[in-house]
Structure formats: structure tokens, C-alpha cells
Amino acid sequence: MDSVIGLSVFGVDWTFLKPYIVLGLALGGAYALSGVGLVVLYQTTGVLNIAFGAVGAAGALISYYLVNHTSTPQWLAFAACIAFGGAVSLLYGVVLGPAFAARDPLVKTMGTLALALILLGLMAWRAPAGGAFNRVLTLPTTNHRFELFGATVNWTQVISLAFAIFLTAGTTIFLRTTKLGTAMRALADDREITATLGVPVRRVEASAWLVSGLVCGTAGLLLADLFTTLDYAALTFLVISSLAAALIGRLRSLWVTLAGGLAVGLVQAVLAPYGSITGYRSATPFVLSIAALLYLSRHRVVSISRTAH
């Protein structure tokens, strides 16, 4: 029971803040999900996939089309989004991955920027935003709600947060215990030596692309629902929030990435009711990533190696 005089947090009533915390945790879960996908791919292949948001957005648009313009069953339409994410990522990784393998991380990243531009162009052409078009993609789980500590929570929000935690834990165990996971960790250390040891490097890389693509499709689906309107440009640039999560995790630690994603989502949502700074809350991922990058660079070494950052 809330007391009559509600607890006030910097001038905003605590009960009023609750829904924002729920939303923040749900969005944070989706960012963390994408962040973990980014980190696993970066560690295995050295590619920081800027197209992560664009692929998810394109998948969500496909789902939207299948649900609203065809008689496809809903579950199949949602599965199509996840499958699309996996397929596009796998295709990119198999076709262009080897061509970029020996280049430095910046060039690899710009390669995925090209993929993002192509997808953005396709989406802007086939599914123009604005005007009378206001697409909404609602997962069936969103319609089931319950009360928790006086705040309304729907199942999509629960799934988002739970899946983020599950994926982080699952990936950690997977990387530690399975053969493929060990190969991925070896690749993260040194691609050439791993190849010399007889690990099928390209197959391991392809599986990393596939898995991160599936994660990307899932995140796109969740974010399209959590963001209430399906705006491809906004969804594409949500990659910034996921990047912030990954950077907070130093592109290395999965658990810190999870925490980073939740922090980005939470801070951004909780600032919303504060009138004086609410307009600046979308700067949250930028500011947090800058802080993370500055922390990363606190020890400067001049290195003669060509691949050094």
C-alpha cells in the first residue's frame, strides 16, 4: 500500500515513476540482448555490426507485412522476423566475412555500415514512414498484463528482461563448456593460430554470424513492440543504445554488457518525467558510451603493431 504522502524522488512521486522503471527495464533488456549479440560477434569475427538495428527493423517490417497483409498465422510471421535476421547476417558473414577477415576492425565495421545503408534504402523505398502510415506491431504477449508492486507489467516486458538474462547466462556457459564455444574463444585471441590448429575458422565464424543474427531478429521484434510504433529509422538507430551497452562491457564482458544495457534503458526511461531534462534523455546512450570509451582509453600505449587500437 502506498502512503498518502507518496515517496518523492527529486520532486517526482514514486508511484508515478514506477511505470517508467518497468519500461526502462524492458527496453534495457532488449538493448542488453543486442549488446550481447554484438559482443559475441565482435569477439569471434572482429566485426562490430553497425547493421544490427537495420536488420532487426527490416525483420520487424516483414513481420508487420505478413500479419497485416497476408493470412499467415501470427507465430509464423514473428518467426519470419527472427529467421530473416539469422539469414541476412549469415549471408553477409559467409559472402563478405572472409573478404574483410584480414582488415582492421574499422574497415570491417564500415562494411556493415554498407549493409545498414542498403537495408535503410530498401526500407525507405518499400515502407516509407510518416504521413498516414503509422505501423504498429503488437506481440500477443503484450495484451496479458498483471500488477507488480503497484505497476502494470505486460508479458512482453517480462520476456524481454528474462530473455536478456537467460541469453547472457546461456552464452557464458556455452562459451565455457562446448567445443564450438572454445573455438570461438580461441578465435577471439588469434585467428591465424586458431586456423593453424585445425579449427574450421570459417564455419565457426559463420555460426557466430547466424547466432548473432537470430538474436538481432529477436531484439528487433521485441523493440518494435516495446517502442509502440514501428518506425524503421528509429529502430535502425537503436543500435546506438546496444552499442553503448557493448562498449560499457568493453566489447568483452557479457555480464557487464547486460548491466550496461539495463542501465541505458533505465536511465533513459526514468528521466522522462523530469520536465527540465526530459528533452535530453535521448542523449543517454551517447553520454554513457563516451564515458565508457574514455575509461577504456585511460592507459595509452604507442604500439608498433598494425592491428593495435
Binding site: 564500415m110 554498407a114 545498414a116 545503408l117 534504402g121 525507405a124 551517447f286 563516451i290
Partner: protein, 346 residues
């Protein structure tokens, strides 16, 4: 200081002729929308030039150039409403303020390079854009932000243009001359001490350090120069648009700028002009002249970027002459073969 070769003289003559054509012959034969578009081409080629210097000459990537362009446009708008500065002075002051902001964004470059530098400049640019979008562009009010909540803005004058170039055509000529001066500034840098220092830093930072190059100074210098150019371009853009709004700058602009600059070619300053054409003229052609959905251009940018990264690091500026030369050789060889074959048969 400089020894003048014949090649350089010929090149200078060609450039001056081209400039004369652009200044005097072009405006007379083109419509109003073409003039506006070509003005934008000139402005964006200066922004591209800044990025080209940073990435092509010094090897530092910055995704913050579009944000600096917006900062320039904002400052120019504010100063135009708040002060009576003559236009050339407005250009310089705007450039100087953008320079300070740019050096601040560039400070991490002293510790970061490659991917991390690209990311931190992208994030800094994003933060600056959020702030500017929230504050909004000045609309004739007072105070630091220059905003007023008055509903009726019909009496608001556009951002000042130079007194001698108020009409669109005259302003186009003015912009081309300012842009030519910016290119000259870049050339002077590249041909003298900073250019050599930048080349040393790009090839190997430890070697440059060992050779006594002041890395801190020359890296920040490059950022200052590129930001100055972006600021001047922002001022020119504000005066061209008249009443700039935050909505006229899109989030994806800094990404398309990077793609356009790489496609144009980062190792030659001509690449900057090609990038300006790609960024402004081609979308105009697609939309207004050919009736093609301009979003196709994003797809072309993506494919072009992949091609540049994988096979043609010099961009269109280097690749096109190379391709044309090999095509020419192929044709000559074909003609010779036919001629020889023809000689034998008779």
C-alpha cells in the same frame, strides 16, 4: 619555398578555367533549383574536404563532421539575429567557434584511433545533435538560445546574406569563391609542414614520434582545420536556407557523408567535390529530374561503399581514370588486332 613546375602551372590553369566556367557560364544557363542544388554541392564538398583531410591525410576518422555543420548553422543563425556582424566576419567567427567545439570532440583522438575514435566521435556528434534538437534553432528571441515562444513568426527575417550577394545566383558565386578559398587553404596545408607531419603520423605514429613530429599539435591542428571548414560550411548553409530548423538535418547524414567521401576518394582533394556531388546533386537528379525514388541512392551508397572498401581504396577519383585508361588500352589493342588481321587477309 615552392619550385613551380610546368605541370603545376597547367593544372592551375585548368582549375582556374573550370572555376571561371562555374562562376560565369553555369549560372546563366541553369534554372533556379539547379542553382540552389549547386550551392549545396559546393557547401557539402567543403564538409567532405574536412573529413577527407582527417581520414585520408592523418588517418583519423571522425563521424562528427555533420554535427559540426549543424553547430556552425546554429551559431551563424544566432549571431545573425543577435549581432550586426558583416557576413565575412560572421563566416570567420562561426568557423572559429566550430573550431573550438571540434577540437573538444577531437581531444580523445590523442588517445584513441581506428574503430574507437570513429565510435567516440559518432557518440559525441549524437549528443551534440540531441542538445541542438532539444534547444531548437534560434527564431528571433533573446537570451543564449535565441528562442521565443511567440506564435507568429511571419516578421522573422532570414539569416543574413552578404550585401553584395543577396540574390540566389550572386550567392551561388559567393559560395563557390569561399569554397575555392577553403580548398586553397587545404592545399597550402598539405603542401607544407603540417601536410608532411600528417603523412608521417598516418604511416606510423611511433616513427613520427621518433622523428620529432609533435603528434599532439598536428592531430589537434587537423581537427581544428576540419572543424573550421565544417563551421564555415554551416554558416554558408544557414544563409542559403534562410531559416534553418533542426528537422532539416537527419541522423543518418553523418553516415551517408562518410560513404560519399569514401566513394569520392579520400586521397585526393578532387574526391571531396565528387562527394559533394554525390551528396547533393545526385539526389536532386534522382528526385526532380529523373523521377526515381531518391532512397535508391542509399542502396547505391551501400554497394559503392562495399566496393571502395574491398577493391578500390582510392575511390571514384582514382578508380575512374584507371578504368578508363584500361578501357582505352583494350580498345586500342582491339583496333590494332583488327587492323593487323585486316592487313593479313588482303
Amino acid at each position: 619555398m615552392f619550385t613551380v613546375e610546368r605541370g603545376a602551372l597547367v593544372r592551375a590553369a585548368i582549375i582556374l578555367t573550370l572555376l571561371a566556367v562555374v562562376l560565369f557560364a553555369l549560372p546563366g544557363s541553369l534554372g533556379a533549383d539547379w542553382i540552389t542544388t549547386l550551392t549545396s554541392v559546393a557547401i557539402y564538398s567543403v564538409v567532405s574536404l574536412g573529413l577527407g583531410i582527417l581520414y585520408g591525410r592523418v588517418g583519423m576518422i571522425s563521424l562528427g563532421q555533420i554535427a559540426l555543420l549543424v553547430v556552425g548553422a546554429w551559431v551563424a543563425t544566432r549571431l545573425s539575429y543577435g549581432t550586426g556582424l558583416p557576413f565575412p566576419l560572421l563566416l570567420l567567427v562561426t568557423g572559429a567557434i566550430a573550431c573550438v567545439v571540434g577540437v573538444l570532440i577531437g581531444l580523445p583522438a590523442l588517445r584513441l584511433s581506428g574503430l574507437y575514435l570513429a565510435l567516440i566521435t559518432l557518440m559525441a556528434a549524437g549528443a551534440v545533435s540531441v542538445v541542438l534538437r532539444t534547444i531548437g534553432f534560434p527564431n528571433g528571441g533573446g537570451g543564449f538560445t535565441g528562442r521565443t515562444s511567440a506564435v507568429d513568426l511571419s516578421g522573422l527575417a532570414p539569416v543574413r546574406r552578404p550585401a553584395m550577394a543577396v540574390a540566389d545566383t550572386a550567392y551561388f558565386r559567393y559560395v563557390v569563391i569561399v569554397c575555392a578559398l577553403m580548398f586553397l587553404l587545404a592545399l597550402l596545408h598539405i603542401a607544407s609542414k603540417p601536410g608532411r607531419a600528417w603523412a608521417a603520423i598516418r604511416e606510423s605514429e611511433p616513427a613520427a614520434l621518433a622523428a620529432g613530429v609533435n603528434i599532439t599539435l598536428y592531430k589537434l591542428w587537423a581537427f581544428a582545420l576540419a572543424s573550421f571548414m565544417a563551421g564555415v560550411a554551416g554558416c554558408l548553409l544557414a544563409a542559403q536556407v534562410g531559416q534553418p530548423t533542426a528537422q532539416s538535418f537527419q541522423t543518418q547524414d553523418s553516415l551517408t557523408l562518410l560513404a560519399a567521401v569514401l566513394i569520392g576518394g579520400i586521397f585526393s582533394i578532387w574526391g571531396a567535390i565528387v562527394a559533394g556531388i554525390f551528396n547533393q546533386l545526385v539526389p536532386f537528379l534522382f528526385q526532380a529530374e529523373w523521377g526515381i525514388n531518391p532512397n535508391f541512392l542509399l542502396i547505391i551508397f551501400g554497394v559503392g561503399l562495399l566496393q571502395v572498401l574491398l577493391t578500390a581504396p582510392g575511390g571514384l577519383v582514382q578508380q575512374l581514370p584507371k578504368d578508363l585508361a584500361s578501357l582505352g588500352r583494350l580498345v586500342v589493342r582491339g583496333v590494332r588486332k583488327v587492323a593487323r588481321g585486316g592487313g593479313r587477309s588482303t
